[in-house]
């Protein structure tokens, strides 16, 4: 069953593009990544799903119900964490969370304490006095306290230190195991790769592709940079799947796509001083998808 189904969704801001003809669906129980550079339309799509803004054309359903007409009903089961969290400054953390819980007709006090424990959040502080990272934690607890069936995250990791990020991801994975579907928007490929099963890539308001992370990984380049002790013949690396082979003194760099073992065997044959293997950044992945389109 599809938890989210988006059909030809278009949102224009006057004449400016928001998103155009976006269609994809998120299955129940999956962690779905939504990735693209800033301004590509990730937030526009998410805000439309939450009926914070209204589509120009097209439609979408969540839990099989229309996002506009059934909005309040749908939102009972949605937990949302915006990229920037802002709350009523003069409230205490606990009061804010209780206010948030009061919208859902169940007792969430125990769950609030549990989550606050995991995220190491002080419930007695005033929101005003919290740092950016701590405000983010309030957002996380606030988004999860009613045990939603669908968790929508819009660039959720900004402001969290790596340790907290780890805890947060663990938390998400636990929620997912309990049955929650997660829509995870980000411009950081590595976090999406870590968590998600499938991913939609958006660029300039349009969906470029929807793929399994595993397929995406196979299809994307890795960047190799090899420093050798002695100058070697660069043709050594002229293999299938190698691109942009360049040599600069004792360093050789190239992009590679394919079975990584082949390259590793080649590298093992020579004496190397240093080796870098990098994931391509997002821009490079887009380049890859653009090349494929042309």
């Amino acid at each position: 069953m599809n938890v989210i189904e988006i059909k030809n969704l278009t949102k224009m801001y006057g004449k400016a593009r928001g998103i155009e003809d976006v269609s994809f669906s998120v299955e129940e129980g999956e962690i779905f990544g939504f990735i693209g550079p800033n301004g590509a339309g990730k937030s526009t799509t998410i805000r439309t799903l939450l009926s914070l803004i209204y589509p120009t054309s097209g439609s979408a359903t969540i839990f099989g119900k229309d996002i506009i007409t059934a909005a309040p009903e749908i939102k009972k089961e949605i937990g949302y964490l915006p990229s920037e969290v802002f709350y009523y400054d003069n409230m205490k953390v606990m009061d804010l969370l209780k206010y948030s819980a009061s919208f859902y007709k169940k007792d969430c006090t125990k769950r609030i304490r549990e989550l606050a424990d995991i995220m190491e959040l002080d419930l007695t502080k005033k929101i005003d006095d919290l740092s950016l990272g701590n405000k983010k934690k309030v957002g996380i607890v606030q988004g999860l306290l009613h045990e939603p069936k669908l968790i929508i995250l819009d660039e959720p990791t900004s402001g969290l230190d790596p340790l907290m990020q780890q805890k947060f991801f663990d938390l998400l994975e636990k929620e997912n195991k309990k049955g929650a579907t997660i829509l995870f928007s980000s411009h950081i490929l590595s976090e999406v790769q870590r968590l998600c099963d499938r991913v939609a890539i958006i660029k300039d308001g349009r969906i470029v592709t929807v793929e399994k992370i595993s397929t995406l990984k196979e299809n994307t380049y890795k960047k190799f940079k090899i420093e050798t002790n002695s100058t070697i013949e660069k043709d050594l690396f002229k293999l299938d799947g190698v691109n942009q082979l360049e040599q600069d003194g004792s360093t050789i760099s190239f992009l590679f796509r394919g079975n990584i073992n082949a390259i590793m065997r080649k590298i093992a044959e020579i004496e190397i001083a240093n080796l870098w293997i990098e994931e391509p950044n997002l821009e490079e992945i887009f380049m890859h998808y653009y090349e494929k389109e042309e």
């Binding site: 949605i78 920037e84 802002f86 709350y87 606030q142």
Partner: protein
């Protein structure tokens, strides 16, 4: 109900401050009445020296100024001004504060309709204003009996004092409408002060010209104290205008707010 209580709490402090200020004003004005009425004849001669236009503009009526109702009506002009600012502030900020304080994402992703949000906020504003007016009217009556004993028409005083509430309702409705139509209000106080003072000046001008049509544009002149004192009622046509305006503004606010795109910060 949770939203209503939350909003009520959020406006508790400002409602208390406005209420105390209004009460302080009415206490101050009415406490001057005994010394004023003692030397009424001298004051009258003095006031007659003012140009008639000025007297009209600031709501001075020489004939009635020496009576409690006349004196109260005169000071009431400034009470109306303060009350209108309170109501306009409340109306302008109650919906727009969510986007200004960037809490709209929080509230609008909760399982509530936008209509419910407007209703809760409207009710909270209404209760705040009712509280202010109850205290204000009580203070007015206590002060009036202290300075004038029993020698005034209680019904007329009540109707005049109650017209503060009518004017506040109008400015509340206007404020809400303004806040949903204009996409982003950076400073509530400049919008509300500007609007209220604009109407106040218009009211002064309209008082001097006796232009019938112009009076419909000046909420401050809708409830004429002289008319109330004489007839013990409001003028129907203006009462109707108030009611129609409030209904129209509130309905339009609901409409615009439910249709509006709520943009991220």
């Amino acid at each position: 109900m949770n939203m209503f209580l939350h909003e009520l709490k959020a406006y508790r402090k400002s409602t208390l401050i406005w209420t105390v200020s209004l009460v302080a004003m009415v206490v101050l004005f009415l406490s001057m009445f005994p010394s004023f009425s003692k030397d009424a004849e001298e004051f009258k001669t003095l006031l007659e020296g003012f140009p008639a236009e000025l007297r009209k503009a600031i709501g001075l009526s020489v004939d009635s100024i020496a009576t409690l109702l006349g004196f109260f009506s005169y000071s009431f002009l400034y009470l109306k001004l303060a009350g209108a600012i309170q109501a306009m502030n409340l109306g302008t900020s109650i919906l727009s504060k969510e986007s200004r304080e960037k809490t709209a994402d929080f509230l609008l992703t909760k399982p509530v309709t936008r209509t419910q949000i407007v209703t809760s906020k409207l009710m909270a504003a209404l209760v705040s204003l009712i509280f202010t007016n109850l205290v204000f009217i009580a203070a007015t009556f206590v002060m009036a009996s202290l300075v004038a004993g029993d020698e005034f028409n209680k019904e007329a005083l009540f109707l005049i004092a109650l017209s503060l509430f009518m004017i506040q309702l109008m400015f509340l409705a206007l404020g809400i409408l303004v806040s949903v139509i204009f996409p982003r209000i950076k400073s509530v106080i400049s919008v509300s002060l500007g609007t209220v003072f604009g109407f106040f000046m218009l009211g002064m001008i309209s008082s001097t010209t006796d232009d019938k049509a112009l009076r419909y544009l000046t909420p401050f002149n809708y409830f004429d104290s002289a008319h109330i004192t004489e007839n013990l009622s409001y003028e129907n046509s203006f009462l109707l205008t108030v009611v129609l305006f409030i209904i129209a503004a509130i309905l339009a606010s609901y409409y615009f707010y439910t249709k509006k795109d709520v943009h991220s910060v």
